[in-house]
Structures are given as C-alpha cells and as structure tokens.
C-alpha cells in the first residue's frame, strides 16, 4: 500500500514538474514600426522558422507581437513593456524600433535581434558589421539590396538605357542609403541617376510623372512610401514607354521586372538567427547577416505593353515570369 502511495506521489510530482515546464514558455517580443506588407511578412517568417524548428506557439514559446503604428516614441514604450514582462529575446523590425530596443535594454543580457535594417552600423545598432565581438547583445539581419547588380540588370536590357529615374522618400533612412549607393555605382556602369523625391505616398504620382521624358528606365528600391503607391510609378513608366525595375518580388505584377528577395524569406533568415541565439550562441559571436541571393523576375505582360523584348540572357537568368496575369516559377532541375 505504502509503495503504491509513494509511486502515485512520484508520478504526481513528475507530472507536476512536467506541467510546470509546459506552463512556462519562453517569451519573445516581436515589434515592428508599422503595419506594412513587407514588415508583416518578416514577422510571419520569424514565427514560421521557429515553428518549423519545433517551437510550438503557446507551449514552448509565447510571442508578444506589437506595432508602434508609425510612431517612434511608441516603439520606446513597447520596448519598456517587453522589459517589464521579462521577455527572453526581442526581435525588432525596422530601424527606429531596433534603436528603441537597444536603448531600453542597454546593460541587460537580453538578446536584441534586428530585422529589415539596411545599415545596422550607420543606425548605431552595432559597432561593426564583420567583427561582432564588441556588439554586445545585439545582432540581426540586414536587408541591404545589391543596388549595383540591379543597375547592371537595367544595363543588360540594352544600350538605349542611360538615364535611370529613382522615385524615393527622403524621409526613409533605408531608402536614402540605397539611393546614395545607386548614385555612387551608376557612373561605373555608364548610367546616370535622376532622382524624384516623394515625402509621402500621396506625393508619389507627381514625383513619378516628373520623370516622364527625362529617363530611360524607372528603378524603385525597398522604399515603403513609394512601394505603397507603386501603381502610379507603373503608370508613369508606361506613359513614358520605358521599363520599370522594382527591388521587391512581391510587386512583380506592378512593374516590368523585379529583383531581390521577398521579405518572408528575410523573416525566415531572422528566425534562423533567433534559433541560433536560443540554442546558446551569444549575439557578440554573430556578425551581421546579409541576404545573399538576388533573383530576377520578369513581367512579360508589362513588357509587351511598352514594346520591350527582353534579351535572351536576361530571360535565361530569370527565376520567374509573370505572364497572362499569373506568376510562373522556374522549376529547379
């Protein structure tokens, strides 16, 4: 009888411990600066990467999802809220959100993983992109895009392209960096960049129209304000009869061609970094991660509309084409 009792007791104890473990999932705070398709995709990518690695939501991990709704001041409050709720790790999506998290968690051991930050060194998040030893508890993934190779792509379309028009928001840190990089890379490729600033989505149509007749191609990077009004750039490029390259594959249907990665893939990559940190890797051993692969997608419908025939080499390099109102992926052999 005694033995049965003690056996029951042991089972209860073990069960209790088991329940205790199950009842305390790790808390991860994921904060983005604003609701935006690209940033939402990053958030989803992070969660999916963790789920795929066996972190069951609600059991192993609890996500504290937040959006600063466009206000950098609120980003600070969100980070402070994460601190009081004792999160084990913060994923901060976009530059001001990451800066707020780094400021609030200064001097603590909580790892900060930033995402969708183009220039983490310029943003003061880390001291060095390659040597992480003095970067403290901060690491992450940059969404820097290979601007020079994008311009080369336009160059590959034909000798007629000399002037490239860029519509960009001078108020977006990421966009300004990419525009500057394009201006630096253009002369080496025999190109000239003509810029048209638009400080808000509402001003994008006018900026795009101002380039009609002055440029041989349009190029838009990962600029939030401009991508939100991408159809107005498309309309302008169509009116001018020139190709339009956008550095965002999810916008392929709204451009002549697109290059780069999509933000869901970016989120998966961020998720990988999170997993490494959860597995015990210290952030100050992880250098800035860059998204390596840049794929090219072509919109054949739009090319037909402006009378553009893609050179065979460009078609051969494309990972997908948009034709007849649908996207067709190249099958990997």
């Amino acid at each position: 009888m005694k033995r049965i009792l003690s056996a029951v007791l042991v089972v209860c104890l073990l069960g209790g411990i088991g329940l205790g473990l199950a009842a305390a999932p790790i808390k991860i705070g994921i904060c983005k600066i604003v609701e935006h398709p690209a940033l939402d995709a990053v958030e989803q990518g992070v969660i999916d990467a963790l789920t795929a690695a066996g972190y069951v939501q609600g059991v192993d991990v609890e996500y504290l999802l937040a959006s600063a709704q466009g206000d950098p001041g609120t980003a600070v409050t969100i980070a402070q809220n994460y601190q009081t709720r004792g999160v084990s790790l913060v994923v901060a999506i976009a530059t001001p959100t990451a800066q707020a998290a780094v400021q609030v968690f200064r001097g603590t051991a909580t790892p900060i993983i930033y995402a969708a930050v183009t220039d983490p060194v310029g943003a003061g998040l880390v001291l060095s992109a390659t040597d992480p030893s003095r970067n403290g508890n901060v690491t992450g993934v940059s969404d820097m895009i290979p601007v020079a190779s994008h311009l080369q792509l336009l160059r590959d379309l034909g000798a007629a392209i000399r002037k490239v028009g860029m519509v960009y928001n001078p108020g977006e840190a990421n966009s300004v960096i990419l525009t500057t990089l394009a201006q630096e890379a253009a002369p080496g490729l025999g190109l000239e960049i003509v810029t048209a600033p638009a400080d808000s989505t509402a001003n994008v149509p006018m900026a795009a129209q101002s380039l009609i007749g002055r440029v041989d191609a349009y190029y838009v990077t990962t600029d939030n304000a401009v991508v939100s009004a991408i159809d107005s750039v498309l309309a302008a490029s169509e009116e001018a009869g020139v190709p339009f390259l956008v550095a965002d594959p999810t916008s392929l249907a709204h451009a002549t061609m697109s290059a780069g990665f999509d933000y869901y893939q970016h989120g998966l990559l961020v998720g990988d970094v999170v997993l490494r940190v959860l597995a015990g890797a210290r952030p100050d051993t992880l250098p800035v991660t860059y998204q390596a692969r840049a794929e090219v997608q072509l919109n054949l419908d739009q090319a037909a509309r402006i009378g553009l025939a893609f050179p065979q080499a460009v078609i051969d390099a494309a990972s997908a084409v948009y034709f007849g109102g649908a996207t067709w992926e190249r099958k990997s052999e």
């Binding site: 409050t77 601190q83 009081t84 001001p96 780094v102 943003a123 108020g171 300004v176």
Partner: protein, 298 residues
C-alpha cells in the same frame, strides 16, 4: 508594473513640455498652431547634431529651444505680418521644416545610441537614485520649464498674451502690439516643443524624421484632458493640469500595451485602445459632475 509606470511618467513629463507649448498657443493665444509637428523634430535634430559633433548634451537642449523659437517666429511672421490665416501659416512652416530638418540631420535618422546624451550622463552620475535617476532628471527639467512658463505668463507681456487670446482690443490697454504678442507666444510655444523633442531624442537614443507626426494631436489631448480634470483659471494650476493630462495620456498608452492583449486586442488595435482610454478619462469627470448636479438639485 512599477517599472512600466515609471517609464510612462518619464515620457509623460518629457512630452509634457511639448504639451505646455501647445497649451500656450491653443489655450492662451487661441491659435491652433500646426508648426509643432515640425518644430518637435527640429529640436531633436539640432540637439542630436550638436551632441554627435561633441557638443554638451545639456546645452543642446537650450540650442533646441532657440531653433524651435525661430520656427515659431516664422509662423508668427507669416500670420501677423503677411496676413496668412493661422492654420495655413502653421501648416506652411511645418512643411518647410520637413526639408529643413532633413538638412540639419543630413539623413532621416540619427543614432545617439553610442553618443553621450544627457540621460546617459545622469544615469551614470546620479547612481544614488538607482533606476530613478533619469526620471528625476526629466522631472527637474519639466518642473523648471513649468515654473518658467508660469512666471512668464504673470509678467506684463504674459498678461498681454493672455489678453490677446481673449480679445485683441484688450491688448492695446496693456500698451503691447497684438502682433508682437502673437509672435512672442508662438516663439515660446515652439521653443518648448523643440526642447521636448530634444529631450525625447536623447531619452530614446535616436532622432527620426517621423518622430514629430502627431505632436499636435497628443499635445491637444493632454491640454484638453488635463483641462477637463482640473478646472481652474489660475495659471499655475492650468500648467499643472497640462502636465497631468500628458502623464495620463502616456499611462494610457502603456496600459494599452501592457494589458490590451489580456482582453484579446491585437497589435494593430493600439491607437484605438489608447483613444478609448483617453476618452474614458475625459468622460468620467463630466458624468460625475452631472450626477453631483442632479443630487444637489433634488
């Protein structure tokens, strides 16, 4: 909870200085001034650039005030001298400031994370206060600003300012030009807003071109919320009410973030919950007053 409340008070006081600026124009001058969405960033930009170039972070607050005051003078000039309608004058200066702020900063986002800011110096120096050091510093700055504002409103020109909001004919009686009074009021108001922006930038660890959007909205919320809770015609109490309003607003944001999820709200609902909490704080005293009146009339 205590930590969250502490941070909410820090921000409530820091943004409270901007609310005092909005109070000066909206309540005292009866001038709805939209310049503040731009001058808030101007303050942050000027202070950040000075600090990043090795300037003193405390003097940077004063420099921010001066820059904001200059912006206010522009709005005042447009309205009082060129006859541009008050709303439009503010809007025009705000738009101009967007470009000017980008010029000052050189880029849309400046990081102060690796710089020596006032809040960091204070955090390192006033170790006796522990985690309350930053709060104490912000409270001191805000108190100084509040007392200076009170003092100013009791001076001769301050009286003229208050009179010009009530009736422009009255001002002549004080021997002060209405237009001059307006310009002084706008300069002072935007100086305070810029000072607030400089303080918030140092506290947050960065200045961003987007950080000023909604300054007029949160400022007005604080002024009206405080004014409805503390009904008074005495200057000292009026400015206190503004700061109380600002504190309540930030506490509402913190509460919405902390407990919103408990009742099933999503991240995207934040602004809605904040607005509802402010509304509740606004309506409760009004309802209670009505009940009191009912009781007394029985």
């Amino acid at each position: 909870m205590a930590t969250l409340l502490m941070h909410a008070i820090e921000q409530g006081l820091a943004y409270g200085i901007a609310a005092l600026g909005v109070f000066l124009t909206y309540r005292i001058l009866q001038f709805p001034d939209l310049t503040v969405d731009g001058s808030f960033v101007t303050g942050a930009a000027v202070a950040s650039i000075l600090i990043l170039n090795g300037g003193d972070p405390f003097l940077a607050l004063a420099a921010a005030f001066a820059a904001g005051a200059a912006a206010g003078l522009v709005t005042g000039f447009l309205n009082a001298r060129l006859g541009v309608a008050n709303l439009l004058a503010g809007v025009l200066t705000m738009i101009m400031l967007y470009s000017i702020n980008l010029r000052i900063m050189g880029r849309p986002n400046l990081s102060l994370l690796r710089a020596s800011t006032a809040t960091q110096i204070v955090d390192g120096a006033w170790t006796g206060l522990g985690p309350l050091a930053v709060l104490a510093f912000i409270a001191l700055v805000t108190l100084a600003v509040k007392l200076a504002t009170d003092f100013f409103l009791r001076t001769e020109i301050g009286f003229a300012l208050r009179a010009s909001g009530d009736s422009e004919a009255m001002v002549g009686a004080y021997g002060v030009d209405v237009r001059t009074a307006k310009m002084v009021g706008l300069a002072l108001s935007n100086g305070l807003v810029a000072l607030s922006g400089a303080l918030v930038a140092q506290y947050s660890g960065f200045a961003d071109i987007g950080m000023g959007i909604g300054t007029i909205v949160t400022g007005l919320a604080a002024v009206i919320l405080g004014g409805s809770l503390i009904r008074t015609r005495r200057v000292g109490w009026m400015t206190t009410a503004v700061l109380v309003g600002s504190l309540l607003y930030r506490i509402a944001v913190a509460l919405a973030l902390r407990y919103g999820y408990v009742v099933g709200f999503q991240a995207s609902d934040l602004k809605l919950i904040t607005a509802v909490l402010v509304l509740v704080a606004l309506v409760i005293p009004a309802v209670r007053e009505r009940q009191l009146r009912k009781v007394s009339s029985c």
